[in-house]
């Protein structure tokens, strides 16, 4: 038996037999669902925490400070398990949604710091110009500061999204069948480690590669005002 024959036989045994490829496909769906909702939630939470941290009000600073401190100071597995087994213990909600919420809360802590840095990177003169025209603080923030800040922090946010997608590979800890867990399942069922793990790696890689291409394009559009 040649090397290639061996490989293809392995492939059939791991993925085709008993329709095991379907496990991976549904795993992709789960990973994407969890990641997408978590990213959105993370940006929303991150924005509010950033505003808290930048506020002049002391108690908002404290809330924001504790939030980022706890999120960054504890492992995401611990956070996920805590939210799944403690916070949502008595609430019946789709498993994937609980995971998405957990990752959103986690991501929010990191996004908050990214957004805070982005807002601080915009010159004070921009705010002053907006306010001197009679715009209120909120209008100045949403129409003048944030559009510029988002452009500056976009690469850092992309990085956070990518980290988040890979981070979701721990949802197996609470029994959710994502890509990683599906690969793991195949591994146990076939007693073969190489094929399922390589497949898992390739699937994550392709997802992130595609995401990267999309994000690069968006960044180019965002940078249009810098064309001279």
């Amino acid at each position: 038996m040649t090397f290639w024959q061996k490989i293809s036989e392995e492939f059939v045994r791991c993925f085709i037999r008993e329709d095991r490829y379907k496990l991976l496909l549904s795993g992709i769906g789960v990973t994407l669902k969890v990641s997408l909702v978590a990213v959105l939630l993370g940006v929303i939470i991150g924005f509010f925490i950033a505003v808290c941290n930048l506020s002049k009000k002391k108690f908002l600073n404290i809330i924001g400070g504790i939030y980022t401190d706890v999120i960054r100071g504890t492992p995401s597995v611990t956070q996920l398990m805590f939210i799944y087994f403690v916070v949502f213990a008595a609430i019946s909600l789709d498993k994937w949604l609980i995971c998405a919420i957990a990752f959103g809360i986690n991501s929010g802590g990191y996004v908050a710091e990214i957004i805070r840095a982005g807002i601080l990177s915009i010159d004070r003169g921009q705010t002053e110009a907006g306010r001197s025209l009679g715009l209120n603080a909120r209008q100045t923030m949403t129409r003048i500061v944030l559009p510029q800040a988002i452009k500056n922090i976009f690469p850092a946010l992309c990085n956070e999204f990518i980290v988040l997608i890979k981070e979701t590979a721990i949802v197996g800890y609470v029994g959710l069948m994502d890509i990683q867990k599906a690969g793991d399942f195949i591994k146990s069922a076939t007693f073969s480690a190489f094929m399922p793990l390589i497949a898992t790696a390739i699937i994550y890689y392709v997802i992130i590669k595609l995401l990267n291409i999309g994000l690069k394009y968006i960044e180019k559009v965002l940078r249009q005002s810098e064309i001279r």
């Binding site: 003169g125 001197s132 025209l133």
Partner: protein
């Protein structure tokens, strides 16, 4: 138009303004001169409360704007401000830089604002730049756009904070010309400047500030040709 009574401003322990009383009347062009650190920019920035006032009162059209209950945004709509660093919005086209505030504040429709903006751009000689981004403009052009942006709000008074200090020398003239034209049209203005020749020519009154107070004031003729205060004399001997 603007009355300032006993204005004090402290940054932490540092007292930058130590009691300023001033009355700016409609149609006046007031030039504020003085050495660096004399508080002249701070004084200007207090007039539209970009700096909060430590002590004292500021009245705009007889309304006490240092009162906490006054909607300062409404007051600022009538006070145009031009900054040393231009502060154009780099993410917006020139036209949108100018129309953003009047449209957002519902003072004009999009079409009205656009029409007015084009008129103003024409007036400052930059009509062809309407669709450019600020990044492609020279310093002088940016500052002229900044003036147009402030004018689009139809302000009753214009505040200039060293409008030519960040410009290359060959661009100072084009900006001063625009300001001069405004003065001729009867716009009330307060201009913090280091351009003594310009102050002499355009101002109806000159304030000399030093050490946080107005040391001396008068018509350009009085102040430049016959200064009374020792500090004024010393300052002028250095800059003229």
């Amino acid at each position: 138009m603007i009355k300032v009574k006993n204005l004090h401003k402290k940054f932490d322990k540092l007292e930058v303004l130590k009691g300023i009383d001033e009355h700016i009347r409609p149609g006046e062009v007031v030039a504020v001169i003085g050495p660096s650190g004399s508080g002249k920019s701070t004084f200007l920035r207090c007039l539209n409360l970009l700096e909060d006032v430590t002590e004292g009162e500021i009245y705009v059209d007889d309304r006490l704007i240092t009162d906490k209950n006054v909607d300062i945004n409404k007051v600022r709509q009538k006070m145009g401000m031009v900054f040393q660093q231009f502060n154009l919005f780099p993410h917006l086209k020139i036209l949108d830089n100018i129309t953003l505030a009047p449209v957002l504040l519902k003072l004009m429709t999009k079409e009205e604002a656009k029409k007015r903006a084009m008129e103003l751009l024409d007036r400052v000689g930059l009509k062809d730049k309407a669709d450019s981004y600020p990044g492609s403009l020279s310093g002088g052009q940016k500052q002229r756009v900044a003036i147009a942006r402030a004018l689009c709000m139809n302000p009753e008074i214009m505040l200039f904070d060293e409008p030519t200090s960040a410009l290359d020398p060959e661009m100072v003239g084009e900006v001063l010309d625009v300001i001069k034209k405004l003065a001729e049209d009867g716009m009330t203005m307060v201009i913090v400047t280091h351009e003594m020749g310009f102050a002499k020519e355009v101002a109806s009154r000159v304030l000399f500030m030093d050490q946080g107070i107005i040391m001396e004031q008068g018509t350009p003729k009085e102040l430049f040709e016959n200064p009374q205060n020792e500090r004024t004399k010393l300052f002028l001997s250095k800059v003229l």
